[in-house]
Each structure stands twice: as structure tokens, then as C-alpha cells.
């Protein structure tokens, strides 16, 4: 067993610890009551920490905890709202964009289909050779016709008939004359 007189007793250590703790508390209180500089910007207004009353301190600590909780709550719900809003907005944007683009695509598809039928017909009547037929098939392909260079920044076309590829082949067949056999 240890002897208190030897100076290495644990009860002395406890006293020392108690003193240190109370000193630490006091200095903390001093800091809180005196320090109204940069910290006050973070934790609230000067008046909140204007006196050294312990109940005010506890109140302000509780207030801080509350503010932190509200901030965390706000952040959590804002994040969730943002993600849900983004998903919902994407769905709406995709659908309304699809609805806007669909009629133009139908018109372009219709015009390309007409040129395709004329190509098949003229080739079957030997009015065009295989090279011309293959060239038409290559140029009328969807990836060529829907190339972004033919559309404005809003993906619109003033008149689908003025699409350069459609225009080129329409004029080409006009020059060849009627596809009917005499």
C-alpha cells in the first residue's frame, strides 16, 4: 500500500487533477466572457455572452447545440431535396425534350423514306447505277442526316426540306426526270 507522506499517493494526484480542472474551467469562462472578437462571429452576438452567469453559459451552449442540429437537419434535407429535385427535373426535361423533338424527327424520317423509295424504284428500273444507289444509301443514313452541323443550337430546323442532304437528293432526282417508264 502507498504512504501519503511519501508524496506518491494517488490522493495527491487526484487533488492536483481537481485543481487543474477548476483552473481550466475558470480560464475557459474568462475566455468566453472576455473574448467577444472573432469567435463571436461564429457563435452569436456579443450580448449573448455579456455576463458570466453560468446559466447563461449553459443556455448559450444549448443554443449552439440547437443551431448545430438545425444546420445539420437543414443540410440533410436540402441535400435530399436537391437530389430528388434533380431526378424529377431530369425526367421532366427528358420527356418534354422528347415531345418537342419527335415531330421534327418524324418529318425528317418521312422525307428520307421518300428519297429511299425513289432510290429503290429507280435502281430497279436501271435509271441509276449501283454506285449512285450505294452513295444515296450511305448519305441518307440516320447518323449523317441527324448530324449536329445541320441543326441550330436549340436542335431546330427551320424547314426540314431545306436539310442539305434532303435538298441534294431531291434536286438530283428532279434533274433525272420522271421515274416512270415510257
Amino acid at each position: 500500500m502507498s504512504d501519503c507522506s511519501l508524496g506518491n499517493c494517488s490522493c495527491k494526484e487526484k487533488d492536483k487533477l481537481k485543481t487543474n480542472t477548476s483552473l481550466h474551467m475558470e480560464s475557459s469562462l474568462d475566455n468566453l466572457s472576455v473574448n467577444s472578437g472573432s469567435d463571436s462571429d461564429v457563435w452569436g452576438s456579443d450580448s449573448e455572452y455579456g455576463n458570466d452567469d453560468e446559466s447563461t453559459l449553459i443556455g448559450s451552449v444549448k443554443q449552439n447545440d440547437f443551431s448545430r442540429d438545425v444546420a445539420a437537419l437543414k443540410r440533410r434535407h436540402e441535400n435530399r431535396g436537391y437530389l430528388d429535385g434533380l431526378t424529377k427535373g431530369s425526367e421532366i426535361g427528358l420527356q418534354s425534350g422528347f415531345d418537342n423533338g419527335y415531330p421534327l424527327g418524324a418529318q425528317l424520317g418521312g422525307l428520307i423514306g421518300e428519297l429511299l423509295a425513289e432510290t429503290i424504284w429507280r435502281y430497279s428500273l436501271a435509271q441509276i447505277n449501283k454506285d449512285i444507289r450505294d452513295q444515296a444509301f450511305s448519305e441518307l443514313k440516320i447518323n449523317k442526316v441527324l448530324s449536329s452541323e445541320y441543326f441550330d443550337s436549340n436542335l431546330k430546323l427551320k424547314n426540314p426540306k431545306d436539310h442539305p442532304i434532303i435538298n441534294k437528293w431531291t434536286k438530283y432526282y428532279e434533274i433525272l426526270g420522271s421515274p416512270m417508264v415510257a
Binding site: R80, G81, T87, G101, Y102, G109
Partner: protein, 192 residues
Amino acid sequence: MSNTNTYTNIDFDSLLNLEDQFYQNSFNNAINEGKNHSNRDGIQFGIQTGFQRFILIGALNKMNHLLIDLINSKLLINHQNQNQDQDQDQKGIEISKKVNLEKMIKNLTEIQKNINYFYNYDNNSTNLIQTSNTPNDVQFYEKQIKIIRSKIKSAYLQLGYKNLYSEIENSCREIAGDIPASQINGAQEDIW
């Protein structure tokens, strides 16, 4: 009394719905951001799908016009032949040909009426397909394409163009590619 009044003036609902407020404000702001972000993708996808769906209508429309013109020119020749001095047998053949040609013209004209629904010719002078992605228009498309396809197959057979329809259909596929399966309501072969 005054305290009671003060309490009744506080909107407790809004305090209790703090979570909803935070959520809703952020949700409303993000919706516009999401809309703007995906709108362009939607337009591109819409143009592509419209193109893939209506290329066949355009091709059948043109082919129908070509065949009507062809039969009309044959009818003209037939009429000229009938006016020439011919024996009775030859005249009988020409009359029989005329009946057949007129029947074919009637069939193709019927098909043309079905095709014209997509062009809305009555008040459309642009000769461009008039459609939209509304459920009614999509349903109408799916119904009409089946009718047109079955009528055209038998008309082409009558005219002696046994493989013409499949050639048009395959060419449309070659030009426009296949519609992704997820975009099709029903069996894929219904579209074509």
C-alpha cells in the same frame, strides 16, 4: 391575454414543417436545373425516335404514288390499244387488263387514304408528316401502320412485286437502324 395572443400569432405549422421547408426549397431549385440539363438529350432522342418510326411511312407514301402513276400510264396505253382496230380476242384481253388495272388503282387509292392521315393533307400544304408524341397520336400510328402494312403487302402481290415490301422494310432498317426494344410498346415486329 396578451401572451395568449402572442402564441396564437406564431405559425407553429411552419416551425414543425421545418424539414419540409428545407426539402421543398432545395427541391424546387433543383427541378429547373435537372430540366435544363436533360432537355437537350430528350430532344435528340425524340428526333431519332420520330425519324425511325416514320421513315417507313415516307417510303410507302412515295412508292404508292409511283405505283399509282405507273398504273395510270398503263391504263392510258390500254385505252389507246382499245381504240385501235383489233380482233375480238385482243379486245377482250385489253378489257380484262383494264378491269384489273382499275381494281389495282382502287386498292392503292385506299392505301393512300390511310397514309394521308399522317400528312393531314386537308389543311397541310407542306407535304410534311404532322404528328406528335401524345398517347392518341402514338396509338393512332400503331393502328394505322398495321392496316397499311397488310393492305400494301397484298397490293404489291397483285401487282407482281412480291419482294418489294420486304425490300423497302429492310432498306428502312439499314438507313435508320432498329428502335431500341425498350422504346417499343408491344412486339418489335409490330413497328415494322
